[in-house]
Every structure is written in C-alpha cells, then in structure tokens.
Symmetry: C2
Subunit: 224 residues, 2 copies
C-alpha cells in the first residue's frame, strides 16, 4: 500500500513543485486547495489544473477570512510594489498557515495519511512567520496532541531552498511552469511589480531561462 499524504496546493511555484516531488516519492496525494478570498484567486485555476493533470484527488475549501488584516484579502489595502526588503510585508495573511495546516491535520486523520506536504520556505519569505521551520516543527507537536491519530508529520521539502533552486528542482521533475501562477494581482497577465512577481522573476533569471508563463503572454499579446 502506498503511503498517503495531504498536500497544501496553492497553484504557485512552490506548492506545485512540492506536489511533483511528493508524486516522485510515490506518495498517494490528496490536495487541499483554499479559496480564502485572495486577490489572486486565479492561482486556484492552476492548482486545480495541476491536481487534475497528476490525477490527484482534491478538495477546494472556501473559507471566510473577511476580517482583513492583509493586502491579499482586504481590497482597501494597497499591494506593495517595491524592492524586496526585510520585515513582514503587508501581504502577510494573519493565521493563514495555522488554518491551512489545521484543516490538513483534520483531513489527514480521517483518510489515515501520515504526512502533510507544504511548500513553505524561509529564504525568500523570511517575513512570513508561518513559513519558518521553527513554527512548522512546533505546530506539528501541538497538532498531534490535539488529534486522535498520532505521528502525523509536516513535510516541508523546500524549506531551505531559494526560488532558483526550487525552479531547478521543478524543471528536473517535469513541472510546466507556464501552468503556475504567482502574481498577487491576479489579473490577466502578471504585473511584474508585486513582491511575488519579483521573486519569480529573480528566480528564473538566476536559473538563466525565461519564465514560460511570460512566453505565453508574449504569444497572446501578439495575437490581439
């Protein structure tokens, strides 16, 4: 019997590479995809696309984080368009990974999965407290105290990698990056100005290849 794993899938580069990695390890994956009223709901489209492509059963959960506190969920807050700085950016969503991981533990317990995969990594998003190993390790201990089945493990295989390393890993696994979405604005084309676009651009630049998503854009923009 193959080992089961719940995977938090957003539709971005990190979680998509994590999904491919889990599949490579022959994990029987179950994807959790969240609609938390994020600006870039568009990422959900790509999450669904990759889950279907890899034949991974998924569940799309709609949760209301309507109390704002983040530029990603509160339309009154402006998205930062700036060079990458230190500190916690306004795109931080309070409690996001706490909530996502809690749902993942619930599902893992029910389907008897012993692993939860998350694409969190610290190097780029040092600002998000819920992407740090310190948090993930501690949460794993607490969550196991709160459930019946014990020994569920949080696996964050990208934790110490930077974006370029993650892209390289993805390429080696056959990830089609034209089918991933990063831009926080979630418009038709990536804005290339928000933090998430900048990290993505820097990553592809370091790897030394063009972003397939942008190649698609060029083709499309020539057509019309």
């Amino acid at each position: 019997m193959r080992e089961k794993g719940v995977i938090l899938l957003s539709g971005g580069i990190d979680s998509t590479v994590t999904l491919y990695l889990a599949k490579k390890y022959k994990i029987e994956c179950f994807a959790l995809i969240f609609d938390y009223n994020q600006r870039h709901k568009k990422e959900i489209f790509y999450a669904l696309k990759n889950a279907k492509k890899l034949n991974v059963p998924y569940r799309l959960l709609r949760i209301n984080l309507g109390w704002g506190g983040s530029a990603l969920t509160d339309p009154r807050m402006k998205l930062p368009q700036r060079k990458i700085k230190r500190g916690i950016p306004s795109t931080y969503v309070p409690g996001r990974n706490l909530i996502f991981l809690s749902f993942a533990f619930s599902l893992a317990e029910v389907i008897k999965a012993k692993k939860i995969f998350i694409g969190a990594h610290t190097q780029d998003y040092s600002g998000y407290p819920d992407c740090r190993g310190e948090f993930l390790n501690s949460f794993q201990v607490s969550a196991n105290l709160g459930i019946k089945e014990k020994g569920i493990e949080i696996v964050a295989p990208l934790l110490d990698k930077n974006k370029a390393e993650i892209i390289r890993l993805g390429l080696s696994l056959g990830v089609d990056f034209s089918q991933t979405w990063s831009c926080y604005k979630g418009k038709k084309f990536p804005c290339l100005k928000c933090d998430s676009c900048r990290f993505r651009m820097e990553g592809f630049k370091k790897v030394g290849i063009g972003d397939p998503l942008l190649a698609k854009r060029k083709v499309k923009s020539r057509r019309f």
Copy 2:
C-alpha cells in the same frame, strides 16, 4: 481602553458560561461561531441569541468539514446512545479545536485582542484530545510562533470544572440555560439519550435543579 478577547461560541452550556465570565471580567468580546455542518446546527441559533443579548459582535463562519470522520458531521455514522464510557467517542470531530483556534488567532491578531476564550474542559470530555490543557498550552506556543503579534493567550476558565460546577457558575453569572443547546441530534426537543444530553442532565441533577430548557419543553408540549 478595555481589553479585547475573541470567544469561541457554540451555543452550548460551556461556551455560554465562558462568554458571561469574560463579560464579567469586562473583556470587550468578539464571538466566533462556526457552522461546520454539525448535526446540531440548532446550537448556532442559541449562540447568536446570546451574542445579541450581551451586545457582543460576532462572526458566523461556514467551514466545510465534509470529509466526515465524526458522527457529528457524517450522517452515515450513528450517534452513540450509551452510558458515558472511557475513550474517544465517535462524536469527536478530527481537528475541530485546531481549526477553531486557528481562526481565533487570525481574528485576534487583526483586531489586536490578546486573549482567546474557549469553554473546553477535561472532566466530562476526557475523550476529546483537543479539549485538554496539554493541547491548549502547546497550541498557544505554536500559534504565537506563526503570527506577527506575539503574546496572544488561550484562556480556558472551565478547564478543570465538571458540568455541575459550570452550571453553578453560570447561575451565579445570570446565564439563562433555557437559551443554550446541547443535544447532538438537534431536533425540536433534546433526545435525552446522546452523550451531550446525558452530561447536561447529570449536571443539573447534581446542582439539584431542573433544566430550564426541559421546563420550556413541558410547557410547549402541554400547549399542543
């Protein structure tokens, strides 16, 4: 300025007494009420009623725990009707307090509340792993690692009390127990057979008074 607190409000005896207690301590309360597709959705009606009565702003969150694993959320599973035993009953909902507390931390961070009130207690529900102090203490540490604002405290004032003690405390605070709901079946009248009814009945019996909710039933059943 009054201290702010988020309170997890279900509409049952424990969370209602906790709400009254927080109000007594002059906490500016914000209630979180969950529709997680529980059989006894009826409890939500009472949660809303008490929040409104005490002038407490609230948010009703609908979350999908559609993967079952509990007799409270899976209609295919039978509710236990038995004497209170040791062990984890089938009414245990995997990850419930993990999820509820995670949302509470998110809201607390946004509204700058430093306390989260929960009516959990161990004596009656020794079977539920997410009602134990060990879990609550550990979760508090983990959650604070995952958020920006630090020092948010989980307050579980009923942790070591039994149902009779909680009812006595509620009476001293002016709680109207005819406006609380416990029965897992969530029908028109309490079934008086499920675990939750049994705990409630035992509590009122030990206190030596009748359950005002049942008194209401008698009046109503005489009328028709």
